[in-house]
């Protein structure tokens, strides 16, 4: 059976997604996670979902929950499940990590510079909770000079610690613009630099994200 690839985190305007559906398929993306705060209400979003579906790309809606600003959302995850297939928790401190681990979010991520809070101990707690951890590719291509070196250093540190703690790792683009998207298989090649083994590299953009979605659908969140 042919391997399927997923990019679970894009923040691209729905109108751009609708116009680039063929190109997204050509990049080798089979499943796309669109971060949205509006649910299925927007007309542009409905059009984007239809265009992606016509090209054979399954799209899922995702909500990024930041416990500092939107803690109340963590208490009503059941209600959010009707609108969003994927609930992601943004880790911004170790205290928030604890509240996110107790919550029903499906996946965790930490944008730089907050990812520096995460130690090996934090990754061990994530592994014990069974929640996957997502790393975005975007900071590596948007930063320049020394900032890029720091972004690469942080990326490699997160990947090494996650692998050491046994955390399920998911690699996503985190794209804000259509030109920041990358073929998932090529993004995964970057994981060869922190010396992750070849099998684990492909899983971060293939079976790991697909398993997250499978688990979400078992919880009652189905694709539109």
């Amino acid at each position: 059976m042919r391997r399927r690839f997923a990019d679970l985190h894009v923040m691209i305007p729905p109108a751009d997604l609708a116009a680039s559906a063929t190109w997204i398929r050509d990049l080798g993306i089979n499943v796309l996670g669109i971060a949205s705060h509006r649910g299925y209400g927007s007309e542009d979003l409905t059009r984007a979902l239809a265009a992606l579906k016509a090209e054979g790309v399954d799209a899922v809606l995702r909500l990024d929950i930041d416990p500092t600003r939107r803690a109340r959302l963590l208490r009503r995850t059941a209600a959010l499940r009707d609108e969003f297939q994927l609930l992601a928790g943004a880790v911004m401190s170790t205290q928030e990590l604890r509240s996110l681990l107790r919550s029903k979010v499906d996946i965790l991520f930490a944008d730089p510079p907050y990812s520096r809070f995460l130690s090996l101990r934090s990754f061990r707690s994530i592994a014990e909770s069974g929640k996957p951890f997502e790393v975005d590719f975007r900071p590596l291509i948007t930063a320049k000079g020394r900032q890029r070196a720091h972004a690469l250093q942080e990326f490699c540190r997160e990947v090494r610690l996650a692998a050491e703690a046994g955390v399920t790792l998911v690699l996503s683009s985190g794209a804000l613009d259509i030109w920041e998207m990358r073929p998932p298989r090529e993004m995964a090649n970057l994981l060869a630099l922190p010396e992750l083994d070849q099998g684990a590299i492909t899983e971060t953009v293939s079976s790991n994200p697909l398993r997250v979605l499978e688990r979400c659908s078992q919880l009652g969140r189905t694709s539109p």
Partner: protein, 110 residues
């Protein structure tokens, strides 16, 4: 020490603006140097062998040990000649003939 072997990489350049073999070479080389340094670049043996401006397909050669770094450099490229681009690796082969047959549409067999 094992002998160095050549690897041929088929690339597809997606972008709004036109691009030439020279701009692709400059973009790929500067990205590689930015990421891995001058010493690595001197060892990698990167060459842009062919570029089809209409199909925007290219063949790049490098030594096999440096292939993962060349792939990463191509993926991390964000612009060429001032315009945004996404460079997609279509495939890798040990011979030009096989690369053409499997991954390239426009360049065709020579």
């Amino acid at each position: 020490m094992r002998k160095l072997r050549r690897r041929y990489v088929a690339l597809k350049v997606h972008g709004r603006d036109s691009c030439s073999r020279e701009t692709l070479r400059e973009g790929l080389e500067s990205e590689f140097i930015d990421l891995f340094g001058l010493w690595a670049f001197s060892q990698a043996g990167i060459r842009v062998l062919e570029f089809d401006e209409n199909g925007r397909e290219a063949v790049v050669a490098c030594w096999h040990r440096w292939l993962p770094m060349v792939r990463v450099s191509a993926t991390m490229m964000t612009e060429l000649a001032g315009g945004p681009v996404v460079v997609q690796v279509r495939g890798v082969s040990g011979t030009m003939r096989r690369l053409r047959r499997k991954f390239l549409s426009a360049l065709g067999p020579s």
